[in-house]
Amino acid sequence: MNAIALYFRYIGLSLRGQIQYRASFIMQSLGHLLVTAIEFLGIWALFHRFGNLRGWKLAEVGMLYGLISMIFATADALAKGFDMFGDIVKAGDFDRLLVRPRSTVLQLLGQELTLKRVGRFLQGLIVFVWAIVSLPIDWTFAKVSLLLAAFVGGVCLFMGIVVIQATITFWTTETLEMMNAFTYGGEAASEYPLAIYRGWFRKFFLLIVPLGCANYLPAIAIMGRPDPLHTPQVVQWLSPLAGVVFLTIALQFWKIGVRHYTSTGS
């Protein structure tokens, strides 16, 4: 069985396990949906009071918000195995993965697909659809492709962050809470246009952890709106690649971590 088919085998089992507790699944998804909906209500209230945010309309922020919410919910659901890696190492379960003739990445991705994230995804989707309907976007095939690419690139980016978080565990054994600054914190920061932040903050989220490439730059290109940061159009169109590059680097880092583990066994 090839790696992709095996991945779906793993995920099938994971989903079946979660659906066994159906009531719990429905409640948790609904909870996620409501909590994040209230979050967006907060943003709406701000705009209602102040009209706009440095020239950004509510619908434009809604597009950024909806896109990053969908991206984050998806990445969070896919990379659960890496997210809980600290527990796996502590329990000594990583040894079990190593004695199986498959890549550790595949086995960890197969650990769980967190179904309840669907609540957050749906909430993001609702805001996103409302936003693009309200905005005067003339949709072309290229823009639809860019949107899909931005989604994939963003998911790669967040998964990369979680992979790095897991890799650090090889040295610390504890999952670093600090890394939440990049996952939850990065997600929260990306709900607003990157242009409103200070220079060093912008640079960090464009060049080091390129979260700006996940929603801000592609959204600018899709809206056809002038960018206060004056990024060239070609950069906007190529921005989804940043996430893919980031994940590739994270996976190399992961390999170093596994090598460290096998030489220390701790």
């Binding site: 069985m1 085998r9 190593l98 004695v99 199986r100 003739p101 220390t264 066994g265 701790s266």
Partner: protein, 327 residues
């Protein structure tokens, strides 16, 4: 060339020393002191296909480290290791496809899945063709008496049941080599016997090479013809069980049930080991006095209900070996 060759294997761990108190903890973060621990220090041995070897030693002797290196989980600091011509840590995936590993302490199965589904997932992970899978699975189910357990989730199994399932799970891909790391730990007597019986058949009938680490000397006596003893990262002894006995001690034990309640045995050629009521256990050197002569002398002087001569238990032999190695 053996099926498993280990030459001068060494493994050193760097362990951060914890210092006492808050100040020590802070100092530990800034400048950590490291202590080097040699888990393995020049271990060499070679196994032919079809051997069943006991690998024993006290906690921290290097047993688990050796098994982890052999199964590709750990990379050694120095030395050579080949399993069926492959170096375990160089090509992990290819290597682990040809071995089976069972850790007594933790299961290889999926906690929430019924046993049979764990088996099917392992079939896919190990790429076992369906016809082979059915053949191996059915044989293992029959040998280990698993029929009734297949539909239970692993978390509902007793330790003994779980171990039987774990053994089957490690063999679905029919590996020629099996590493068993303390497979009988915590098991009740009946389960221990079942595991031993299975391992013995696997080795005798299928020719599977087995390396067995254990604390349970009964496992060794029941299963292994060859015993490797390790202590402080070095091999202290490697040979048959009989060799080990002869090397360390020639003594044999004589146990006598006396008729009188408080009778004492006073003989220049025996050393008292213990006495429990009427039963007296003592050791003697068969080269100084033959068992027949000794028994004759004792039965002349004392009224005896029963008596028997035996080898000292393997624990005693190992303890002597460690004492020698340290001294």
């Amino acid at each position: 060339m053996g099926q498993i060759v280990v030459e001068n294997l060494a493994k050193a761990f760097h362990i951060a020393e914890r210092q006492a108190g808050l100040l020590g903890a802070i100092r530990g973060v800034v400048a950590r002191k490291h202590r080097e621990v040699r888990a393995l220090d020049g271990v060499s041995f070679s196994l032919e296909a079809g051997e069943l070897v006991g690998y024993i030693g006290p906690n921290g002797a290097g047993k688990s480290t050796t098994v982890k290196i052999l199964s590709g989980i750990l990379v050694p600091s120095a030395g050579r290791c080949e399993v069926i011509g492959r170096t375990p840590w160089k090509n992990r995936i290819e290597h682990v496809a040809h071995i089976g590993v069972v850790f007594g302490q933790r299961t290889q199965l999926w906690w929430d899945l019924p046993v049979i589904e764990s088996f099917e997932l392992l079939r896919d992970i190990y790429r076992v063709p369906q016809s082979d899978y059915i053949k191996h699975r059915d044989e293992l189910i029959a040998l280990l008496d698993l029929e009734k357990l297949l539909d239970s989730p692993v978390r509902q199994l007793s330790l003994g049941q779980r171990m039987r399932c774990d053994l089957a799970a490690s063999l679905l891909h029919a590996p020629p080599i099996l590493f068993l790391d303390e497979p009988t730990i915590g098991l009740d007597a009946v389960s221990k016997l079942a595991v031993r019986d299975f391992v013995k058949r696997l080795n005798r009938e299928r020719g599977v090479t087995v390396i067995l680490t254990t604390h349970d000397m009964d496992d060794i006596e029941a299963l292994c013809t060859r015993v490797i003893v390790i202590g402080d990262g070095k091999i202290l002894s490697d040979g048959t069980l009989a060799d080990l006995r002869n090397r360390v001690t020639r003594e044999r034990w004589l146990t006598v049930d006396l008729a009188e309640a408080n009778g004492a045995i006073d003989d220049p050629d025996v050393t008292l080991i213990r006495r429990e009521g009427q039963r007296v256990c003592m050791s003697f050197d068969p080269q100084r006095i033959s068992p027949a002569a000794l028994i004759g002398r004792i039965t002349q002087k004392h009224a005896v209900h029963d008596l028997f001569v035996e080898n000292p238990p393997i624990e005693t032999i190992i303890a002597k070996l460690y004492a020698e190695g340290r001294g």
